[in-house]
């Protein structure tokens, strides 16, 4: 799965949870500072993305201890791509 495909999945999850305009979302968009996502919204987004990526790689999961380091959409995309074989 390419970084662009992961970004599309992530963008779709963000739009679903936060009801924002997908066209405004780029790699540099910050979850908290730009989108005002709270901890529950962040985990909702994470669980949607995990479910999507599990189809590509069974058991795919973002480690809880890594969540705090994923500040932007780009951070999350890079994290996922690095762990997808």
């Amino acid at each position: 799965m390419t970084a662009e495909q992961v970004l599309d999945l992530l963008r779709s999850a963000v739009v679903t949870v936060l009801e924002v305009d997908g066209a405004s979302l780029g790699r540099g968009t910050r979850f908290v500072d730009d989108l005002q996502a709270d901890s529950l919204a962040l985990v909702e987004i994470v669980e949607i993305v995990e479910e999507d990526l599990t189809r590509a790689q069974p058991g795919f999961r973002i480690a809880d201890e890594d969540l705090d380091r994923l500040l932007t959409l780009g951070d999350a995309v890079d994290y996922a791509v690095a762990r997808l074989r």
Binding site: L18, Q36, V43, E47
Partner: protein, 295 residues
């Protein structure tokens, strides 16, 4: 009606939970309570009381001092998650917990999903003038003006289901006059004037227990929770609510005080069963759909 009940939630669990479950089924013979918790714990407590209830296994609980969202995410086998999974799968009509509200909310949202952008804790306070729906009474500590508008739409839909015709919406504030309050209240006031609800302006704390100017009172969860607990502590009334609805999640989820005793747990269970019997969820979807289309 089948209600999935969190056996491990609350300060007095599991005894108060199981006693509350038995009180509820005694009062409503058509009710089926499904205990969700460790089968050995449930089995021993039921045997000691000579009672039988269905038990669905779940072994973990989210502690009061634990981060609610992280706790729910890391504990897939948590009781708060399992009660909502049973609702999602159609094995229960409603979920009830007197565990930490934040954890119940997180489990409800992550398992059932949302009906609207921001769920709220909704409490129905009976008054001489009819019920007053107060929300948010504790789901989200920091509100935004847009969230208060969403609460107004949700609360209006709920009040209509409770039988209030053309519910009046008030914004909880420190005075009734326009221009009162902090920036959140001022911004919310301006948005509420344009919202598809019957906004009647600012109301004050005493308007919740006394009723009067508004049928729906909206505020942020921090202020709403402080007000509710103050009203409870200062009032000798016995008709104050013992349970609250998580309004805005895609299923019926009822929460109670962490300090709930058996009578309180029973009230939560009976409340959840009543809401399911009234067809709350399809009616809420219908009313919300109409209102959101109008916005």
């Amino acid at each position: 009606m089948r209600v999935a009940l969190d056996l491990l939630g609350g300060d007095h669990a599991p005894d108060a939970v199981i006693d509350g479950a038995l009180l509820a089924v005694d009062r409503d013979p058509a009710l089926e309570v499904i205990l969700v918790g460790p089968p050995d714990v449930a089995g021993a407590l039921l045997a000691a009381r000579g009672a039988t209830l269905a038990v669905v296994p779940a072994s973990e609980s989210v502690a009061m001092d634990e981060h609610p969202v992280r706790g729910v995410r890391s504990k897939g086998d948590a009781t708060v998650r399992t009660i909502h999974r049973l609702v999602l799968e159609g094995a229960a009509d409603a979920a009830v917990s007197v565990g930490p509200t934040g954890a119940v909310l997180a489990a409800a949202v992550l398992t059932l999903g949302r009906l609207t952008s921001r769920p709220a804790v909704a409490v129905v306070v009976p008054t001489a003038g009819g019920p007053v729906v107060l929300l948010d009474a504790g789901a989200t500590s920091e509100g935004t003006p847009e969230q208060l508008v969403a609460f107004a739409v949700l609360g209006t839909a709920y009040a209509e289901i409770l039988g209030v015709r053309q519910p009046r919406v008030g914004l909880l504030n420190v005075g009734a006059e326009r221009g009162k309050g902090d920036q959140l209240r001022k911004d919310a006031f301006a948005l509420l004037e344009q919202a598809p609800v019957r906004f009647v302006g600012n109301v004050e704390g005493h308007d919740v227990p006394h009723g009067g100017p508004a049928d729906v009172v909206v505020t942020d969860g921090f202020t709403g929770n402080v007000l509710l607990k103050g009203v409870e502590a200062a009032s000798a009334r016995s008709d104050l609510p013992r349970s609250a609805l998580l309004l805005g999640v895609a299923g019926i989820s009822v929460v109670g005080h962490g300090a709930a005793r058996a009578e309180d747990v029973a009230a939560c269970v009976l409340h959840a069963a009543d809401l399911a019997r009234q067809g709350l969820l399809p009616r809420l979807r219908e009313v919300l759909g109409t209102r959101l289309e109008a916005s």
